[in-house]
């Protein structure tokens, strides 16, 4: 790690530092294709360091901090620590952002042809050849020039693998592209009685901006008991320990506009379900009264989906959860489309 950092500093000191305004300037350049071709011929092999200002894509990100300890003094002493954690989270988010961009350059760029330096506060540096910088510039220009919004809709459908196959959605646990328009997908779901849409969250975001939506219920239960000796008395009492399980879903996306009709998508989705009725068990405590108490044994199933994919606007990927003992099969349909009108309020 130290060696890598040292190498980065050496490389950085050897290359030319260009002003960041070069990459944030208006897009009044020659056609990208001819620009890239000429640059590749003249500057192949030479690496340079360029700063990329991406405040407009990442400054809205506000990482959640740890809850402050109760009490004014403790909260004040923890403020610096909280700020430090937030700064670390921002840098991690910026690192993910830069990696997302680098992975979606067209044509693809090998990871060993560049070196990424996250500098924090909405800026990162890249040591790479001129043609890579041209690809980056072209990529950012395209995202900033896009006047539209990206709609991502996730439909969670319960059923069985047989029903999924019968409805034409397949049963492949790998991402399967669906050759249907969104209306046809709705029709197939409506016509198949064995399919049930349990959740259908939708997010609308600008290109490259991260969007998140979480909706969870917290359910408390008696997880354990302990025997405490308290005053007045002294006397022994049994004290329950309360556990919390979360039930709901969260979705996080980052999308980019690519050439043609395509959208690149980075998707994280999670859904937790508490199985009902909750199992219970009883036990006898070793207190003076030999108290019999009950415990809850909640069973929570969580399905997590993480994927990076590209699809045409209006296209849909289908994911089917792998067979898991005692769990129903889930079909996860992810649709993305680019639209030009302003999203409705409250979405």
């Amino acid at each position: 790690m130290i060696f890598a950092s040292t190498l980065a500093l050496v490389v950085t000191s050897l290359v030319t530092l260009r002003p960041q305004s070069e990459l944030t300037a208006p897009t009044d350049r020659a056609p990208a294709r001819s620009t890239l071709a000429s640059t590749s011929r003249t500057a192949a092999g030479e690496r340079s360091f360029v700063l990329y200002d991406v405040h407009d894509f990442v400054t809205g990100y506000r990482p959640a901090a740890e809850p402050l300890t109760a009490g004014g003094t403790a909260a004040t002493s923890n403020a610096d620590e909280v700020d430090a954690k937030r700064e670390l989270a921002r840098r991690a988010e910026l690192q993910k952002f830069a990696e997302f961009v680098l992975a979606r350059l067209e044509p693809a760029v090998a990871a060993d042809t560049y070196q990424l330096e996250v500098l924090g506060s909405g800026t990162f540096g890249l040591v790479a050849a001129a043609d890579v910088h041209n690809l980056m510039r072209h990529f950012f220009d395209r995202q900033r020039a896009c006047a539209g919004f990206v709609d991502v809709r996730v439909r969670i459908v319960e059923g069985s693998r047989e029903v999924f196959a019968r409805a034409g959605f397949g049963t492949d646990t790998h991402a399967a592209p669906l050759p249907f328009a969104p209306a046809e997908i709705e029709r197939r779901i409506a016509l198949e009685p064995g399919l049930r849409v349990v959740q259908a969250p939708q997010l609308t975001t600008r290109p490259l901006q991260h969007a998140e939506l979480s909706l969870f219920d917290e359910i408390k239960y008696v997880a354990d008991w302990s025997i405490e000796t308290v005053f007045p008395g002294p006397t022994e009492i049994v004290v329950p320990k309360i556990g919390v399980v979360s039930e709901g879903y969260s979705i996080g996306i980052r999308a980019a506009v690519q050439s043609g009709d395509a959208l690149a998508l980075d998707l994280q989705f999670a859904r937790s379900v508490l199985h009902r009725p909750i199992r219970t068990t009883s036990l006898v405590l070793e207190d003076a009264n030999k108290t019999r108490v009950e415990l809850a044994l909640p069973e929570v199933s969580t399905v997590t989906l993480r994927s990076a994919c590209s699809l045409p606007s209006g296209g849909t990927f289908a994911f089917v959860t792998p067979p898991s003992e005692g769990q129903p099969d889930l079909l996860i349909l992810v649709s993305a489309s680019l639209r030009t009108e302003t999203p409705a309020a409250g979405r």
């Binding site: 992975a103 196959a165 034409g168 959605f169 397949g170 049963t171 492949d172 646990t173 790998h174 991402a175 399967a176 592209p177 669906l178 050759p179 249907f180 328009a181 209306a183 046809e184 029709r187 997880a223 043609g260 009709d261 395509a262 199992r279 044994l297 909640p298 069973e299 929570v300 199933s301 969580t302 399905v303 997590t304 989906l305 993480r306 994927s307 990076a308 994919c309 590209s310 699809l311 045409p312 209006g314 296209g315 990927f317 289908a318 994911f319 959860t321 792998p322 067979p323 898991s324 003992e325 005692g326 769990q327 996860i332």
Partner: protein, 177 residues
Amino acid sequence: VSTKHAEIPSREAFWSRVDAALDARRDPLADECIVAWLGERPDDAAALAELLARLDGLGARAPRSAARSRPAVRSLPLAAATVVAALAVWVALSMDESPARHAAPARTAAEPFDPRAFRVEHCTIEVVTRTPESVRTTRVADGVIEHSVATTTRGAGAPLATVVTRTRRTPPQESYP
């Protein structure tokens, strides 16, 4: 045609006129005003054609009994309604010059997406079931499925036992399901 159409002021009046013709055991399509209305209302033409077809199927339509002596004319109303409906729909579509229709042509089910436009860089699906006694995990990462079970015994202080089994490899999908 338009002067005849002017005699029916509203959709309610149109359907009242159709009902009156059927109640009187007359063919609604013999009424020029109804035909004129249908020429400008393709939705109503389709609905009327469906209604007449159902009545024919039930044997409840009066002109059917009258037409029994004239088999060649028996299905004339239905055919006429179908032709009128098809013509009206064609005219309506050909005259629709709204910007929305040309700006964003709807993709139909018969027009599949190009499979080459879909690409998956990586994909991980994980199903985790947690209970106080165990954690069962099934994970699919880029085609490789793994099952693992971690169990613990309450109060025994036993170390967490984990078993990981790699079961199969799924080749990347290259065609539509």
